[in-house]
């Protein structure tokens, strides 16, 4: 069977914040370039839509770039590359103003300037916001703006199954068109991965169903290392049961975390003293990794509530009053009313830590380039790294813009220098991929394993071994379990043989990717024998700069990930103890 091959200059995979920003940057470089945007969902369904609190950048006279860089590096527990952080903070204001010019409805001060709010781990108010729907508004502004470029060609609801690599260069992709079930081939000189994170490898996450680490697995299978995958951020305030995010902005606006005795327990963990109005970097405005650990310690001390979905504490907004809640946190009120059945104006919100963000991802440099020629990555999919061992809230939306633009521009520049993409060598690669898809998925017969069963067992193994607290024996058991699940995955049963909008196939392909991603997280965690940022080991409770001030790089082999390490770039901020 031969495939029709569509040729473009640049292919962007994923149409969330990073992907759309990359596509627009590429489109603005030259009207002659053809930019394909391939996404498994319509762009406005991308998970950027769920981001709530805001986007950080230095826009006020009292603030400065060094302060933003220092906060970010300190929050990252010194695992961030400082040259990348410096570039990030320098370009952040420009990118957020650009989004303002593109129509994003930022919240405003009385004088008409874009408002800023506090955020965890940030030393001053520097987080721009659009009420508590910042990601939603950013995504729709980017998507709607992208519509004016006729040379951005969208492939909506197309699931990418592989990168086609020829002569050491990324040359194209294969994808399944959900409408027809057909495998399509796209060729290009440059490819940008912007598929977001993979929180769905865990059972309890703020992440949408589509967050299955696709781009990470695509790169990994193409021989590109994944960096620092063991660093998984738990957000301290998700709703029990659903995992729906209650934004950190509810604490920056003055919300309090209280245990079952009504005590603001964070003061017992060195984050005090408690103040009535929020103090930067203190108490409820501490960083997410530390707040999530405090919750677990309260649980171990028996200070948490127990509900049908496990332990929880209270996030109390009542003292903020209805007017402020409706103006600054309307989505929080809507979510809590709908999904908990209480009104946060009158009752405290039950919350618990929930998997939220992957600091790790596809290994890139500051330009978004991966080690594979022609392949770029940006956003949560990528690891530049500016987030190190723990990301500060409100840096990720900005990261999507800054590094989405960088990756898109660089990919477009590279593509324009390469002449017309040749599709000849891709035909054979595409046939191989079609054969793999047919034999393992589309025409697979027999099998006994349910997709959902393997997925659920994987998720629980990840929570057991790679949760907030980790140790060698639980992580080892998780690695072992993942090997068993990989083997069982070869015997999955597919019940749906239809070609049209076959979401069971997509679930199977996603699970295939997630098993790879989970493997890199668990193995990376097992070999990092220290505690740093979000990675907390009970058997190695201290940070160990002598042996582990370095990035983990996981390379795919048939026997599982092979781990290597790379140095962290230090420019002006020498590692010191991280204390708030």
């Amino acid at each position: 069977m031969s495939h029709e091959i569509s040729e473009h200059d640049v292919i962007v995979i994923g149409a969330g914040g990073a992907g759309l920003r990359a596509a627009i940057a590429a489109a603005e470089l030259s009207p002659k370039l053809s930019i394909a945007v391939v996404s498994k969902v319509y762009p406005m369904r991308s998970h950027t839509v769920s981001a709530e609190g805001g986007a950080a950048a230095v826009t006020r006279e009292y603030d400065n770039l060094d302060a933003h860089a220092r906060d970010t590096i300190f929050g990252a527990d010194f695992l961030a590359d400082q040259d990348a952080v410096e570039a990030f903070v320098a370009e952040a204001p420009h990118e957020l103003i650009q989004l303002e010019h593109w129509g994003c409805p930022w919240s405003r001060d009385a004088d008409g300037r874009i408002s800023v709010r506090s955020f965890g781990g940030m030393s001053v108010k520097r987080t721009l916001f659009a009420a508590d729907k910042t990601g939603f508004h950013m995504l729709h502004a980017l998507f709607q703006t992208s519509l004016k470029y006729d040379h951005i060609v969208r492939y909506d609801e197309c699931f990418v199954t592989s990168l086609l690599v020829e002569d050491g260069r990324a040359r194209g992709i294969t994808n399944v068109n959900l409408y027809t079930g057909e495998v399509m081939v796209l060729a290009a000189n440059a490819i940008v991965l912007c598929t977001g994170g993979g929180g769905r490898v865990f059972p309890f996450t703020t992440n949408a169903a589509i967050k299955t680490g696709d781009g990470m697995a695509l790169a990994y299978r193409a021989g590109v290392p994944l960096k620092d995958m063991e660093f998984v951020q738990y957000h301290p305030t998700g709703l029990p049961g659903t995992g729906i995010l209650i934004t950190e902005a509810s604490r920056s606006e003055g919300g309090w975390l209280k245990n079952k005795d009504g005590h603001r327990y964070l003061q017992d963990y060195g984050l005090g003293p408690p103040t009535d109005t929020p103090t930067q970097r203190k108490m409820e405005l501490g960083p997410r990794d530390i707040l999530s650990r405090c919750h677990m310690q309260e649980y171990q001390k028996g200070h948490t509530f127990e509900g049908p979905h496990g332990h929880y504490v209270h996030l109390d907004l009542r003292h903020l009053g209805q007017e402020l809640i409706d103006r600054k946190l309307p989505f929080v009120r809507e979510l809590v009313r709908n999904y908990v059945g209480i009104d946060p104006v009158y009752e405290p919100i039950p919350v618990r830590p929930v998997v939220h963000y992957m600091m790790g991802g596809v290994h890139t440099d500051m330009d978004g380039k991966t080690p594979l020629e022609g392949l770029y990555a940006a956003g949560e999919t990528a690891c530049v790294s500016i987030n190190g061992a723990n990301r500060l809230g409100s840096n990720s939306l900005t990261e999507c813009l800054v590094f989405g633009a960088r990756a898109g521009r660089n990919a477009a520049e590279y593509a324009s220098g390469m002449g017309t993409p040749t599709s000849n060598p891709l035909a054979a690669l595409a046939r191989d991929e079609q054969h793999r898809l047919d034999s393992q998925f589309f025409k697979k017969e027999g099998g006994s394993e349910r997709i959902a069963a393997i997925r659920t067992e994987m998720q629980h193994a990840m929570e057991e071994g790679a949760g907030i607290y980790r140790d060698a024996s639980s992580m080892g058991a998780t690695c072992e379990k993942l090997r068993e699940l990989r083997e069982r995955f070869s015997r999955i049963r597919l019940e749906d043989s239809s070609e049209v909008f076959n979401t069971e196939r997509i679930s199977a392909l996603e699970l295939d990717f997630m098993l790879d991603v989970a493997d890199t997280i668990a193995n990376g965690a097992l070999l990092r024998k220290e505690s740093r940022g979000s990675h907390t080991r009970t058997d190695f409770p201290s940070r160990d700069d002598e042996n582990f001030l370095k990035h983990t790089l996981a390379y795919r082999t048939d026997e599982g990930p092979r781990l290597d390490y790379a140095p962290v770039k230090i420019t002006r901020w020498q590692p010191e103890e991280r204390k708030y």
């Binding site: 319509y42 369904r45 998970h47 593109w102 709607q144 909506d156 959902a452």
Partner: protein, 248 residues
């Protein structure tokens, strides 16, 4: 948490297998906090892997999971099974759209309509980024903010009697989004949008019924946008009669 069992009557349609849609019934044991989407996920994961539908964020903001629930357009992640129990729940694809498969509708036409209303900032002159943001007062933000809350979930199209008769109608969500930019103090594109927003006979067939606004899960009130476009278009028409030389 106590569990009860509810019946879901779900529309099935696989174009290569069935000539017309059929209904399949599933008995679903459910805890008190399950939404309709949880029941569909339970079916997909545990009972019948061939059921197809769209979903993603499960928190009412991505706009993927719109369906007819007992005849009303709803986000299936935002309606609770307990509110329908003990009666059975009928789950169908959104009305007024072609059906691709099971609960999946073809909404590609909306994407074209969205583009047609030019939902981006149009400026007579761009200010360089180095000069900073366009100032916008909270009052100016308020003027368009609620029209910017649309999640493109398509519930308003499923409720719209005009769209039901004429699929060429630009429709509530796209008109509201185009109008949102007209109201934005940073925008100068009203004239460019006039033709597509006001020209189609659809808006004149739209009555004050406002079904679109009733079903909108984000209180965007697209009916208000349509009525205001009508007024603006009529005003423009009258002005063009009075001052034919002065109108763009």
């Amino acid at each position: 948490m106590s569990e009860r069992t509810i019946t879901l009557d779900v529309t099935r349609y696989r174009p290569h297998q069935e000539a017309v849609p059929t209904v399949q019934s599933y008995a679903i044991p459910f805890p008190d906090d399950w939404v309709v989407l949880d029941a569909l996920n339970h079916i997909k994961d545990q009972v019948d892997g061939s059921l197809s539908y769209r979903w993603s964020c499960r928190m009412g903001v991505c706009g993927s999971c719109g369906m007819m629930v007992n005849g009303e357009p709803k986000l299936s992640c935002a309606v609770f099974l307990r509110d329908y129990f003990p009666r059975a729940i009928r789950v169908e694809p959104l009305s007024n759209f072609p059906v691709i498969r099971d609960l999946v509708i073809d909404m590609s036409g909306f994407l074209d309509k969205l583009k047609s209303v030019k939902p981006w900032i149009i400026r007579e002159q761009e200010k360089p980024l180095s000069e900073g943001e366009y100032l916008q007062s909270p009052r100016e933000l308020d003027a368009y903010q609620h029209f910017s809350q649309c999640i493109n979930c398509m519930l308003c199209y499923a409720a719209c009697p005009v769209f039901g008769l004429d699929s060429g109608f630009v429709g509530p969500a796209a008109i509201a989004l185009g109008y949102r930019y007209n109201l934005d103090s940073r925008d100068h594109g009203t004239a460019e949008r006039r033709e597509v927003l006001g020209d189609h006979e659809g808006i004149w067939q739209c009555t004050f019924v406002g079904e679109c606004s009733v079903v909108c899960p984000k209180h965007v009130d697209p009916a208000a946008a349509i009525q205001r476009v009508k007024v603006d278009t009529a005003k423009d028409w009258i002005l063009s009669l009075v001052m034919p030389w002065g109108q763009r």
